[in-house]
């Protein structure tokens, strides 16, 4: 098993996604190798502190080449890289670290959808006091094992190679490479992952509907039960169609715009909220959740696209239901929906908000800013809820912008449980002009 295969196995549960990533990985390696050769900056790439890529030796400064020629020293280099990748070794300036042998190294993180790669690039020989001290320590360590090795290191610590910083051209080129790799992964692995998730979600809905029909055939129900089953089928079909609309919108914004043909009209927002809550009642009930939507009556009418507002509300409510849970079996969880009119008195235009609050899985502080990034799912969600494409909130955000509004997401850990992680109060504010 290669290093990257081992890293993927440890971090990515879905075998199909692992295979998709591995099909793109050689391209990423080619890009990094080309960058390394063009700039003569060596590159090491880590995944969660484990090395998954190392550029060829020809780009290494002489001191590094001499170190990497010794197995013992090479292991020290890889171990030190892991510490820098995990920021155990702090940055001396933004994006720059000093390695154990006193070399300046750039550090950048690349979001590859299924995780984050940390790229360490550079190995520019630093003449700072701390750097000289570290190189001296390395030479002393080498001398303990082999005087010949120590002599090679001393002779390769050439004054001609000494610089004081990583060239800005190298750093900006690395930044461009980072963007290229992120876009490449977005268009390949990310999109496939999203497609698989959508297929998973839809297939479950369709299997569920088919089973309902089979049961009806097997065990004819009385009129009242049949009516309930039909209502269930209609509700699930509607929910499935929102999944499809989200995917279409995400896959091709232009095509979607043509399909939905933006038409605004005066809307009773409170009525739409109640209608969509009703659609989610069944799923909420299955999880022991109830909605509290008191206090929506005074919500003024807004101008909006009715179907898009329904999709927006679906996306927010679907998350609230999906990520709510009960801390004990008999507890009842409440999803609160309320309006705030005006939302922010004194703002340059009048705005109202509809706020959705739920208790359960949430977002860590550093994840909240990423919540509207297409395909993003919080660590708790990924770990505990198998179905989810990560585009619900990004689509909701898009719809809010279409309406000249805004969306605010907050997630606050209420109490930390030692073995189960935190319970969060998550709130989504949909802020509309009116």
């Amino acid at each position: 098993m290669t290093d990257i295969e081992a890293a993927l196995s440890a971090h990515v549960k879905d075998g199909a996604i692992r295979r998709h990533f591995l099909s793109v990985w050689p391209v990423i390696e080619m890009i990094l190798e080309a960058f390394s050769k063009a700039t003569r900056l060596p590159i090491f790439v880590y995944w969660d502190g484990v090395k998954v890529f190392q550029s060829s030796a020809e780009t290494m400064p002489a001191f590094c080449s001499a170190m990497l020629a010794s197995r013992e020293m090479a292991l020290r280099c890889v171990h030190d890289g892991g510490k820098r990748a995990l920021l155990v070794e702090p940055e001396i300036t933004e994006g720059v670290q000093l390695c154990h042998a006193g070399m300046l190294n750039g550090r950048c993180e690349i979001d590859v959808s299924v995780g984050r790669l940390v790229v360490l690039f550079g190995s520019v020989v630093s003449t700072a006091e701390e750097a000289l001290k570290r190189r001296g320590e390395i030479v002393a360590l080498a001398a303990e094992q082999s005087e010949a090795m120590a002599a090679r290191l001393r002779s390769s610590d050439s004054p001609q190679e000494r610089f004081v910083e990583i060239a800005p051209s190298g750093a900006s080129l690395m930044n461009a490479i980072k963007v290229i790799i992120e876009r490449l992964v977005d268009a390949t692995v990310e999109f496939r992952s999203l497609t698989i998730n959508m297929a998973h979600e839809l297939s479950l809905i369709m299997v569920g509907l088919g089973l309902l029909a089979k049961l009806e055939e097997l065990e004819p129900q009385d009129e009242q039960e049949s009516k309930r089953v039909r209502a269930h089928i209609v509700a699930e079909s509607k929910l499935g169609l929102y999944v499809v609309r989200n995917f279409l919108s995400h896959a091709s914004e232009d095509r979607y715009r043509q399909a939905v043909r933006t038409r605004f009209s005066e809307l009773d927002l409170a009525a739409l909220v109640l209608e969509m809550i009703d659609l989610h009642q069944l799923k909420a009930h299955e999880k022991g959740l109830v909605f509290d939507a008191t206090g929506l009556n005074s919500t003024p009418k807004i101008k909006g696209h009715e179907e898009e507002i329904r999709r927006l509300l679906h996306n927010v409510l679907s998350n609230a239901v999906k990520y709510s849970y009960r801390s004990v079996h008999d507890a009842q969880r409440v999803i609160r929906v309320k309006s705030r009119v005006p939302y922010d008195p004194g703002y340059r235009s009048r705005r109202l908000s509809i706020r959705f609050e739920n208790y359960g899985l949430g977002l860590m502080e550093q994840e909240t800013a990423l919540a509207t990034k297409p395909g993003f799912r919080g660590a708790q969600a990924v770990a505990e809820v198998p179905i989810g494409s990560g585009i619900g909130l990004s689509e909701a955000h898009k719809i809010m912008r279409l309406h000249g509004g805004d969306m605010k997401i907050s997630s606050r850990a209420l109490h930390e449980s030692t073995d189960r992680g935190a319970t969060y109060l998550t709130a989504v504010d949909l802020i509309f002009p009116y």
Partner: protein
Amino acid sequence: MGTRLLWVDDDCDGLLRPLERILEKKGHFTVKKAATFVDAMRLLKDNNAAINTRFGALLVDVILPEGPFGGSLASDLGVQFAEASISYGVSKIAFLTVVRQDEIIDRYVELERSHPEVSFSYFDKTTLLSKGEIEELVSRLNGNHNEKGASEDES
């Protein structure tokens, strides 16, 4: 009285709920459900005291939440649970999942090799509605080894 069947799936009370009644009706099973690994383990233990309350068959998803309020969703928690259930007397195990069999084939083959006394089978949720598939599932959970498509009671 039919075989006591433990069905473990995080969606057993959701979209897949009608399957419970179908299994009861077609396979004459007494079905108990659990949505998580922890709940399923509790059911196994609680029903282990007497022979007539033990589970004879298990229907389980490969991916399971560990507990109802958190815990990791290990990629093969269902396989782990299946293995654990054998020591509680379960002798017929069917996986019902959207995880392709090749994803866990090594674990599956290892299970079959280590427990030749147990009948294992594998069903894909996305083909569950295909002709004869539910009947085949029922048949395997009842300990029959008919090939898919073999004649089954359609009633």
